[in-house]
Symmetry: C2
Subunit: 305 residues, 2 copies
């Protein structure tokens, strides 16, 4: 799957991914009104609005980008109906040729991680037939439980040609509380990084591994170190834009081949129409602001790689 | 919510929780056959079988126990339809008066954790009305992202009278890879434990906090230390039974009031009918084996507290 992601990045010349992380407060009023009128001001109405919002954004930007990253929490907040819309979003984006990275951050003991892996990037077998649950291309995973919580994901990656991104150093302000703790002079995230290499070796596809990692844009010095330590892992980089990460900080996240990193922006793209910079756009055509924000982001990122 | 859990434990005299973690291979043939005949040998059929299996077990044991812990991964593996059955299981168990602990191990950056908290133990607001998504009583959470990934859960706990259990030391073999790393002479899980106390102070309800922790039965020496360090936190204890934890190891997980721990068994209860010990039970009455296994487990645990 990492080779499909690379092919998409090369085709679009855009090492970026758009986070489809809808909150109700992000959605333009005309979409909410229409959905509430049709389905009621309830979970069904909210979910219909979320999908319409996603769809109009995706329709406006899919030709510019290699991948999207729906954050499952933003769908899970609406319960079962939210998960339906998550699945519908995954399917819609795949139809458009995008690589879909499910931002799920799952991780558990072995038998349980197996179920997560099967549900998100693999399948369950029922009377000898395979059924794919959410069917993303790649997912993010949490390493706190160690190797036996990750191994089932590796097996599914190899069997079904999928990929994972392991949280190494997250973008949030308190990420250092545990991740930065020094043990024998080395921060915990570097121990995770060592494991990413070990796990990554089991899932190589060409020059890169189907096991990538997550390193926040908000810690550029750490990013520079981790880039060198995990030469075969793509870095999924959250924290650009709304969280404060800048393009100039991201140069060191790329390898000399210009690959090896894919930078995420969520709010910066999907709520672009609320940004003064794009205030020339009518709210009914909010997706045009998203399109321009994607173009600007690609130019910004490409200026440093 | 911790007081409701305590009241349920005192009423049943049973500091145990049953993990509703269904795998298709656990479900008796007659249930699978009936479900596949009605709905087809597909995800709908599998999910119908899972719910029927859960229901028959819950009907047979609900009067004996204070709480259940459905592992969401086992439902998520079936995609959207699995999540429907998860929700149906949560609702059914709550109707029976059980405290429902969603084993979801979620955790993310602040704004995302807020969505998880809202979806599982809180609500979303749509046009001024509250809508509860999965609506569990308590959930497990992953601390790898630090305080800002936990805080939204604390806020929802306080607003909606719910509870969380933070992963401190998990029961699986590789839990030590990162959790046991020493930093300034102290393992990482003890730093998490310090934070559990800090977070727990914000959510006290009587003598105990609505912020509990997870410490595996498989590391009893660690359990004994952590019990003393987190006097106001209930310990949710996985790893008893199928994973190898024994009752004698669990004495130290309880406080002197006989409270402070709730021991989980999943496979040991829900697949009891496959255990030679309960082979007198006809497979069609598999739930009677589960009932006897619960009685035996309660006796076993009560012998040490």
């Amino acid at each position: 799957m990492i080779q499909k992601l690379i092919a998409n990045i090369e085709k679009t010349n855009a090492p970026v991914v758009v986070g489809l992380d809808p909150m109700l407060s992000y959605i333009p009023k005309h979409i909410l009104d229409a959905a509430y009128e049709e389905k009621g001001a309830n979970l069904s109405g909210a979910c219909a609005a979320v999908f319409e919002y996603n769809k109009q954004i995706v329709d406006a930007i899919y030709d510019l980008i290699p991948a999207v990253k729906p954050q499952v929490a933003m769908y899970e907040q609406f319960g079962v109906e939210g998960m339906e819309i998550f699945k519908k979003t995954v399917d819609y984006c795949k139809e458009k040729g995008l690589v879909v990275i499910g931002d799920i951050k799952r991780g558990d003991i072995g038998s349980t991680s197996k179920a997560y892996a099967d549900g998100h990037i693999g399948y369950v077998e029922i009377e000898g037939k395979k059924f794919f649950g959410f069917d993303e291309d790649m997912v993010t995973v949490n390493p706190y439980l160690g190797t036996d919580g990750i191994k089932p994901f590796l097996e599914v990656c190899n069997e079904c040609d999928r990929g994972i991104f392991v949280l190494v150093k997250t973008s949030n302000p308190s990420s250092g509380e545990f991740q930065d703790r020094l043990s024998d002079g080395k921060p915990i995230y570097e121990y995770v990084c060592d494991k990413v290499n070990e796990w990554g070796d089991m899932c190589m596809e060409g020059n890169y591994s189907n096991v990538g990692c997550v390193v926040g844009a908000t810690y550029p010095e750490t990013g520079a170190i981790l880039r060198k330590k995990m030469p075969h892992s793509f870095i999924l980089v959250p924290g650009y834009g709304a969280q404060g990460g800048k393009a100039e900080d991201l140069k060191a996240y790329f390898n000399s081949d210009g690959l090896g990193a894919i930078v995420n922006s969520s709010r910066g793209i999907i709520t672009a129409y609320k940004n003064e910079k794009y205030s020339n756009v009518d709210e009914k055509e909010f997706y045009l602001a998203s399109r321009q924000a994607v173009i600007d982001m690609i130019e910004d990122i490409n200026s440093v790689r």
